[in-house]
């Protein structure tokens, strides 16, 4: 049975990593991820895990060493934020294309420049097409739960892809929260033993990773990755079902909150979903048909499931905590629009970019967004196509 504890998001992740007891962690400290690795280092020195902790000289090396360990057959992890993820860049793609089930907590922080240490999603959004599965967490509880499920999703033979487990820097990572954790034994039974198909250390069945792959094979390997990403959707749901039996907590591809009869809805990811839920409750109490869709799984992008829920409303506001500088809108906005395009009847969709560099998103701003889309749902034309919310003129 679970146990109630008070932990920050980073402590919850570190505790989850202790319970997973990975064979290898290669990591480099970066704000606001730092204390994950710091706590893990304590677990290593106190003998609470058998993890080989490799203190590398950069994030490029962190990801490279993690890939090497995973290719050798180890259950390998790392963790990062912002510039660290950016420095990992080329090897992040290699982890996915080698089909190595690495799990990496990402503590979301704005990308430079100008330099900023606070939360937005520009770091992990930049890696959205790298071939990694991406799970986003609203709270420390969700970060912990997503971390444990990520191990099972990544290592499933139908998937074999790395997973980023994202939580909001400082807002979640450094805030103390009352959450429920599993017993160590329950976690170990849930994740099971990692049995890789190929390992570099198996001299009986030698394999080679990373050969030159030219015109006649590269394309087939990319098709395999594309299919593995699609295959991850049902696996994510299966793992969530099993996790629910163990923990009592329910996870799906997204949370549809008061969406059943909603006429207009906000789509959001991460910690700001909590504030949005408060506004939905307030509007519902006033008789308004407002709803919230909190996206948990961004990669693979669950467009079919989203069609079923969002296809029923008249107006949607998609909230992005990153700008893609496409001149069009944020990444979640553009994908939601594309995902709903084939519906015969589809909602009007507006984009909002909010919270860059850790800018607070207040209840007032969310009320304004709901008011905008209520007007649109009634046939009005109230807002810009994409609004940068809470920015000064």
């Amino acid at each position: 049975m679970g146990k109630r504890v008070a932990l920050t998001g980073n402590e919850a992740i570190a505790l989850g990593m202790r319970q997973i007891n990975p064979d290898v962690v290669a990591a480099y400290p970066i704000t606001p991820q730092t204390d994950i690795v710091q706590y893990l280092a304590s677990f290593v020195s106190d003998g609470q895990v058998k993890t080989e902790l490799v203190t590398v000289e950069s994030e490029h090396s962190a990801m490279s060493a993690t890939i090497g360990a995973a290719a050798a057959g180890a259950r390998a992890m790392t963790a990062t934020s912002s510039q660290g993820l950016a420095l990992m860049w080329e090897v992040v793609y290699i982890a996915a294309s080698f089909r190595l089930p690495i799990v990496m907590p990402v503590v979301n922080r704005a990308l430079s420049g100008p330099i900023n240490i606070h939360c937005d999603h520009s770091d992990s959004m930049g890696a959205r097409d790298s071939g990694w599965i991406q799970l986003y967490s609203e709270s420390a509880q969700e970060a912990y739960d997503n971390l444990l499920q990520a191990v099972r999703i990544a290592e499933d033979k139908r998937v074999l892809l790395p997973v980023m487990v994202c939580q909001d820097g400082f807002i979640t990572s450094h805030s103390m929260e009352n959450l429920e954790i599993l017993q160590d034994e329950e976690v170990r039974t849930f994740i099971g033993e990692y049995k890789p198909d190929y390992t570099l250390l198996d001299t009986e069945r030698p394999v080679m990773y990373g050969p030159l792959d030219l015109q006649n094979y590269y394309f087939e390997h990319k098709k395999q990755q594309a299919e593995a990403m699609k295959a991850a959707l049902p696996v994510i749901l299966e793992v969530a079902d099993e996790y629910k039996k163990l923990s009592g907590r329910e996870y799906k591809l997204f949370e549809a909150y008061r969406m059943d009869d909603a006429e207009y809805a906000v789509v959001i990811m991460g910690s700001a979903a909590g504030t949005t839920r408060v506004v939905v409750d307030e509007l519902r109490a006033a008789g308004e048909k407002a709803g919230l869709l909190k996206l948990r799984v961004f990669r693979p992008f669950p467009y079919k499931a989203l069609q079923e829920v969002l296809g029923k409303v008249k107006a949607v506001a998609v909230m992005d905590r990153a700008d893609s500088f496409s001149g069009f809108g944020g990444p979640v906005f553009t994908e939601i629009r594309a995902g709903l395009y084939d519906l015969e009847i589809r909602p009007k969709i507006s984009g909002y970019i909010y919270g860059l560099g850790g800018r607070d998103l207040g209840i007032e701003e969310i009320r304004r967004v709901f008011n905008d889309i209520k007007i649109i749902a009634q046939g009005g034309d109230a807002v810009e196509f994409v609004t940068h919310l809470g920015v000064r003129e």
Partner: protein, 109 residues
């Protein structure tokens, strides 16, 4: 366009459903089936007479294309030699045992 029927090392090219994932190669040493010799622009022609059998070319050749039998250099494996010229650069023999010749100037082509 690549011919989908094109074969390497006499093997049928596998489709994405049959291919091992992640680009792993399950039969080590199979690089010898990939004949890199056709990348070559300059061919090292070896002179048995000038060769002093120091085997520096064998040590330095990045493609293991120097053929050695019974401890002696006997020739160049042109199926794999890419024509980099390292053998010629490293050869200490007086007059040099290697001559780099443009493939276009070789009559058999």
């Amino acid at each position: 366009m690549t011919n989908p029927e094109q074969k390497i090392g006499g093997r049928k090219e596998l489709g994405w459903k049959e291919l091992p994932i992640g680009g792993v190669v399950l039969n080590p040493g199979s690089a010898k089936d990939y004949e890199t010799g056709d990348w070559r622009s300059f061919r090292p022609l070896w002179s048995k007479e000038k060769c002093i059998q120091c085997l520096r070319c064998w040590v330095f050749c990045p493609d293991a294309a120097i053929i050695v039998e019974d401890g002696k250099m006997v020739g160049v494996d042109y199926k794999h030699c890419k024509g980099c010229g390292i053998c010629r650069a490293e050869c200490p023999a007086k007059g040099n045992a290697f001559e780099m010749v443009n493939e276009a100037d070789i009559e058999e082509h």
